[in-house]
């Protein structure tokens, strides 16, 4: 009689589930996973809240500075306040610099709690003034370097590193245990193919793991983060689930394949751990090294040297302005606004012009840094095909919006805004035009343009398909081999 695969499969699933529940291994593994997922999510949420709060604080700060500036400007124009050159809002050079209070900010993506990614290192706001880029673009978030080195215990870590190990715990002896207990022989005497047996065993285990790792974070996010409820976010969540499922399937397929070789349980466990070590630990660090070697970042020492040369040149260029007479401390009347004109102290004008010149001169070098980083990122995107761990890590961080791509985009947009900020003030400073109340409300405003969601989801779909393809190749190989497995 031909075995009927589907009813048999459900029978095995049921049977296997019963054994696993009695055995308590499954329970233990599921508890460990639930604990880790919970903790990882907690860490991710804490970090996301921290960054949310920072942006909120920055925006409040900006608001307060604006109010203070316009109040000050009103009283200056009415002649009620003593004039101080560096904090006179009528003076465009002061507004562009110390008084600016303008920030470029990037909000957390709605799913930021799913992966911390680069967000503990890269800034999510920049203070915009006329200062040179070298002076403000390299400020980073404050974090203990030791902790950066250790990495965070976030959900992405649980999925990329720990989940495969739990799969190994559940799957290293799929068939070998049956053989060692002598029950494989018994099972083979039934109208049942080993392929069906193995599929049934994998299905139970996989469903148990996925039932924890997928719904828990998503439900929690939907409950406590209202911004995660949009249509786009739901698509991303779907993608996230598909990705996690595909990665889990990949590791089960590996376990199945290893089991079809017909070695002992201990050897299977060793092989699984070796594969995990190579794919998750060794390949990523080796590739990190390789990426640095193939596409090295330009020298930062050279940037420092160029900055010095550029600064010296601009100091020389505006020497006259720098050393002009400075009578504003003893003669504050000189700072009065007359016919919408104001005398911009020449030293302040010199600062503005000099910083602008410095940026112009080092721009080509900074461009090279950006290009090199993009180059590296492209290389990583390509190399990620070699290691499922890299593939999934990149995808998880890009769903969470904490990947390098998004931070690079933020940096680019900030640079453009910085340029706009300077261009707004440049004619005012050069033509000595005083700031008016109207001007204060028409200052350039920052708008963060989010990366197109379609672009993100396309690149993730592509990764999901790739991972599924990899898993199915390994899986079908395992199923094909299973028919030739020796039962002794």
């Amino acid at each position: 009689m031909q075995p009927r695969p589907l009813p048999t499969l459900s029978l095995i699933v049921l049977h296997e589930a019963r054994i696993l529940v009695r055995d308590r291994t499954l329970l233990l593994v599921c508890c460990v996973l639930a604990l880790m997922v919970g903790y990882g999510l907690f860490v991710g949420l804490a970090q996301a809240t921290l960054r949310d709060r920072m942006v909120a604080q920055v925006l409040k700060h900006e608001q307060e500075t604006q109010t203070a500036n316009s109040g000050m400007l009103q009283s200056v124009l009415a002649g009620q306040t003593a004039l101080i050159p560096f904090s006179n809002p009528a003076n465009p050079a002061a507004m562009a610099g110390t008084l600016s209070g303008r920030y470029a900010t990037m909000l957390n993506a709605p799913l930021a709690a799913l992966a911390i990614g680069q967000s503990d290192m890269m800034p999510n706001y920049y203070r915009i003034t006329y200062l040179s880029k070298v002076q403000f673009m390299y400020d980073t978030e404050i974090e203990n370097p030791w902790n950066l080195l250790s990495g965070h215990f976030d959900l992405a870590f649980v999925i990329v590193f720990v989940l495969p190990l739990l799969v190994t715990t559940l799957g290293y002896n799929l068939l070998s245990a049956e053989r060692e207990h002598g029950t494989l022989r018994l099972l083979c005497s039934q109208p049942l193919s080993i392929a069906t047996l193995m599929t049934g065993k994998v299905v139970v285990r996989m469903l148990a793991l996925l039932a924890i790792v997928i719904p828990v974070p998503l439900v929690v996010l939907l409950l406590i983060r209202p911004e995660a409820r949009g249509a786009e976010q739901l698509v991303l969540m779907l993608l996230w689930s598909a990705l996690v499922a595909a990665y889990t399937l990949f590791w089960f397929a590996v376990a199945a394949l290893v089991n079809t070789v017909g070695l002992s349980s201990s050897t299977n466990a060793l092989i699984m751990v070796a594969l995990w070590t190579i794919l998750v630990l060794i390949l990523p660090v080796t590739m990190n090294l390789a990426v640095g070697l193939v596409s090295p970042a330009p020298s930062r020492t050279e940037l420092a040297n160029r900055t010095r040369v550029a600064t010296a040149e601009s100091l020389r260029e505006y020497e006259d302005l720098y050393s002009a007479d400075y009578r504003y401390a003893s003669d504050p009347e000189a700072l009065l606004v007359k016919n919408e004109r104001i005398e911009v102290p020449s030293r302040m004008r010199a600062f503005f012009l000099a910083k602008q010149k410095v940026d112009e001169r080092i721009e080509p070098l900074l461009k090279r840094f950006d290009q090199q980083l993009l180059q590296q990122q492209k290389l990583v995107d390509r190399l990620s095909l070699l290691s499922p761990a890299i593939l999934i890590n990149e995808a998880l961080t890009s769903i969470a919006g904490t990947d390098s791509h998004r931070f690079l985009a933020f940096k680019d947009q900030t640079e453009a805004f910085h340029q706009e900020w300077r261009q707004y003030f440049s004619p005012r400073i050069l033509e000595s035009r005083a700031m008016t109340i109207r001007d204060l409300s028409s200052l350039p405003r920052w708008h963060w343009i989010e990366m197109p969601a379609s672009e993100i989801s396309w690149s993730i779909w592509w990764r999901v398909i790739l991972m599924l393809a990899l898993a199915s190749v390994l899986g079908s190989l395992a199923l094909a081999r299973s028919s030739r497995l020796s039962i002794e």
Binding site: N144, S265, V273, P284, L289, R300, A324
Partner: protein, 465 residues
């Protein structure tokens, strides 16, 4: 008896495929890491020392200029890479190496290499230290998990004991075999690397580096020894080889992979790191407060630009302002850095369950790439900045303040620039590192002794269960 057991086990292990493949991979990775690290270091160090010399030269030859504007150009100083950074880059990728010393503000060490890298950096850095800390314990477990249990399962243990082999010889024989397997893999590469490094150093620094290498060898010896004895103990205690393997792998995953991350999360809750915004705000407030106080005591003025402080006092005012700020800077940065160090010290306790945490701190300390040595550099750089500022202010008081409103027309010349000494930074010596990390070493020694005791207990129990 001891020697016979060791020789027999060693022969068995070398014939086994596990050692060959896993060991081969580790050695290959080690060579790759050393090669890449060495190459990088040579390049960085030559670049930085050239950059430093060039920078000072430019400072000396900047021509006639108002001293305050000279401080605007400032000076760049570069952190030299300690020679053992090739072995353990430590926190290197996550801290910068360049400080631009400018007027008015304490500059931070900038340009973290991790900023110029992709997200892959967060998987870790392939370094010899990483291999020894993470992969070698795994190797010891993989080749040693069945060294006692297998003898029992095959019945050879019974024969061995019937020959009158004492448990102690059995334990130390097996340990010696495992240890020499590890030794065969790392000793040649390690020795060659140590010699290479020492030979390339100027004679004055050699003794220090040799001491460092010796201490590192001791630390790693204790750490790997811990794993050797733990493996043997578990192999003797567990019911079967399979159980021993599962237990040991579980411990390895928990101790080397999960514990460091959990520890850093936990200490972050215990001693929270301020956000950049909070830190900057607090610093700005403190500096402003200190400044206001100093202004009112020295000049009876509320603000810097009060009409009662004419430009003829600008140099003096600058001096008062800067010096008032020093206290606030020291306090704020000191508090931040103390938080970092407190976090790390708290994590030291995790070393009691996960020795890798203790070893990591010890290793980067002795390699000269830990936070305390980074802090030492930052402090030295800030001292240099203050030196420049003081020289500049003194000169302004002496020459420019007499000119009144024409204050900024004053120009100083080469003699003033030459009075600022070149920045020379001496890496702290080995005793500095030991003073910071002796506790980690003691912890490793305790863990090692505990594992030996456990193994002795495990093998002295009746083995014929």
């Amino acid at each position: 008896m001891f020697a016979i057991i060791a020789a027999k086990d060693l022969r068995e292990l070398t014939r086994d495929g596990r050692l060959l493949w896993a060991g081969g991979l580790v050695v290959m990775l080690m060579l790759l890491a050393l090669g890449a690290g060495w190459n990088r270091q040579v390049q960085l160090n030559s670049e930085r020392s050239a950059g430093q010399a060039l920078d000072y030269d430019a400072w000396l030859h900047q021509g006639y200029r108002h001293p305050h504007d000279a401080a605007e150009q400032g000076m760049h100083v570069f952190k030299p890479e300690p020679s053992l950074a090739v072995f353990d880059p430590g926190i290197g990728p996550f801290v910068g190496s360049t400080v631009w010393l400018q007027a008015h503000r304490q500059s931070e060490v900038k340009f973290r290499p991790a900023q110029d890298a992709t997200g892959l950096q967060r998987f870790g850095e392939l370094s010899p230290a990483w291999l020894l800390q993470v992969l070698l314990p795994l190797l010891i477990i993989v080749i040693g998990f069945n060294s006692v249990s297998d003898e029992r399962e095959r019945g050879t243990l019974r024969q061995l004991l019937s020959l009158g082999a004492p448990a102690r010889s059995l334990l130390f024989g097996k340990a010696a075999a495992l240890a020499s397997c590890v030794g065969i893999l790392i000793a040649p590469v390690g020795l060659a690397f140590a010699v290479l490094i020492v030979v390339h150093l100027p004679a004055g620094e050699r003794v220090d580096v040799v001491y460092r290498i010796a201490w590192l060898a001791a630390g790693y010896g204790l750490y790997l020894g811990f794993f050797v004895f733990l493996t043997l103990a578990v192999s003797a205690l567990a019911r079967s080889s399979r159980a021993a393997l599962v237990l040991l792998l579980g411990f390895w995953v928990a101790a080397t992979l999960i514990a460091p991350r959990t520890a850093s999360e936990a200490t972050n809750l215990l001693y929270p790191t301020p956000s950049r915004l909070d830190f900057d705000d607090q610093l700005a407030r403190d500096v402003a407060d200190a400044g206001r106080k100093a202004w009112s005591t020295h000049f009876g003025a509320r603000t810097q630009w009060d009409p009662s402080v004419p430009l003829s006092k600008w140099g003096a005012a600058l001096k008062v302002d800067d010096e008032a700020g020093y206290g606030a800077l020291d306090e704020n940065f000191g508090r931040l850095w103390d938080t970092f160090e407190r976090q790390q010290r708290a994590q030291g306790w995790v070393g009691l369950v996960a020795p890798v945490v203790a070893l990591r701190g010890f290793s980067m300390g002795l390699a000269g790439t830990d936070f305390s040595q980074h802090r030492d550099f930052s402090t030295a750089a800030e001292a240099q900045r203050r030196k420049i500022q003081n020289i500049v202010s003194e000169d302004l008081i002496e020459h420019a303040d007499r000119l009144g409103n024409a204050h900024f027309t004053y120009k100083a010349g080469p003699e003033l620039w030459a009075s600022v000494p070149q920045f020379k930074y001496q890496l702290p010596s080995v005793s500095f590192a030991l003073a910071h990390h002796w506790a980690s070493l003691a912890l490793l020694a305790v863990m090692f002794c505990l594992s030996v005791a456990l193994a002795q207990y495990a093998l002295s129990r009746p083995l014929m269960r």
